[in-house]
Symmetry: C2
């Protein structure tokens, strides 16, 4: 079995020294990786661990760790792996930036319709109205099943302080749109130092409910293994 786990957050560069980052710690993706290695090490031929720069390293025989900076890097690596190899499962836990930087300018320039660019590789530190215009980044998850229809795909949806029904509904929407086998839906309001509630939504609309990181990791590893065996 060959699987890909993505973990942590992507970073989009603003200039040579600044970037916009998803604050994800990568704890969940890391825990899932460890669970696969603990429980199914015999069946894993290769585990590709695509991780953001802040995520914990994952070590083990048959683990190939690939550091990922921006959305474009993630897109390129996934495309390469999914076309060159037969990948049984993708657990896409990475918090991918929804936005990339389109332009760095000033409020005054926007209001006056001035489209000249700011100069330099590093933005000066004394601009009073620095303004960053963003654009939507490509939805990387969308291409996974198109490139590799037989792969078991697990998507992730993190929301912040929404009603439970909405969380499940949005998670199920993600599952349908991207042809996922499962989606793990979770809410920042239910995540703390010693708690991490998670709901693993299945294709038929049913849910597994978990109370912490370890239970989530356990369940996802088990469901993917059942699906791919």
């Amino acid at each position: 079995m060959k699987i890909i786990i993505t973990a942590g957050g992507t970073s989009e560069r603003i200039d040579d020294v600044r970037s916009i980052t998803n604050t994800s710690t990568g704890r969940l993706g890391h825990a899932i990786g460890e669970r696969f290695l603990d429980n199914y090490s015999q069946e894993i031929d290769q585990l590709y661990y695509l991780h953001g720069l802040r995520a914990q390293p994952l070590e083990g025989t048959n683990v190939t760790a690939i550091p990922i900076e921006g959305v474009r890097d993630l897109e390129a690596e996934l495309k390469r792996l999914l076309t060159e190899e037969r990948i049984d499962g993708v657990i896409h836990a990475m918090a991918v930036s929804d936005y990339m930087v389109r332009e760095v300018t000033t409020l005054e320039k926007i209001k006056s319709g001035d489209t000249t660019k700011l100069e330099g590789n590093k933005i000066s530190s004394n601009i009073d109205d620095l303004t960053i215009i963003m654009q939507r980044s490509p939805k990387v998850i969308r291409m996974i099943k198109k490139l590799s229809p037989q792969t078991t795909l697990v998507g992730f949806k993190l929301l912040s302080h929404v009603p439970h029904e909405e969380l499940i509904q949005v998670g199920y929407g993600l599952l349908q749109k991207n042809d996922c086998s499962f989606v793990l839906a979770n809410d920042l309001a239910e995540i703390g130092p010693n708690m991490h509630k998670g709901y693993l939504i299945h294709r038929d609309g049913t849910c597994d409910s978990m109370e912490n990181n370890e239970q989530i990791a356990d369940m996802i590893a088990k469901r993917v293994w059942e699906e791919t065996r």
Copy 2:
């Protein structure tokens, strides 16, 4: 001797899951900390290591590590330490955000003069013209000598691809403005995997020139030790 070393980059929150981050690895601040512990461990009563979330941990007897997220956290911790204790040296290697988030809005709202706020703790992922307006953050370095005049202060200036004379001039300006004893000036163009040129500017305008991380760490530890003994 009690010293403070700041290392890594600060992060300013955009919403619950996104932030603007200085991409600093914290390698230099970490190396300076190690050098102090290696060469002057007998004289160090306490080393406060204020580090960004991505920076390498520093371990040792007498090391107190304090994680720092945003500029406001850094300001509060430094103020606390500098007023409660007698600090002999501050090596301020942290890449502090020049900008904090003022407002998250859209290009359309700016152009039409609409000042209503975007809703939610986490910004929706389907806005076509998301725009982040920034404001200048407080210059934390400026308060250090005001709070603690007897402290030896080392400032840092990182520029990107400027002529050597300009680098030294800008570094010396920082020294004068903030009453530093030394400023380490460096340029991204002279930093690579195995190279890190650095120029330690003194009050009299002279410079120590170094070729790599270890030499820089060595020189700074030595100069601070000479100044505070």
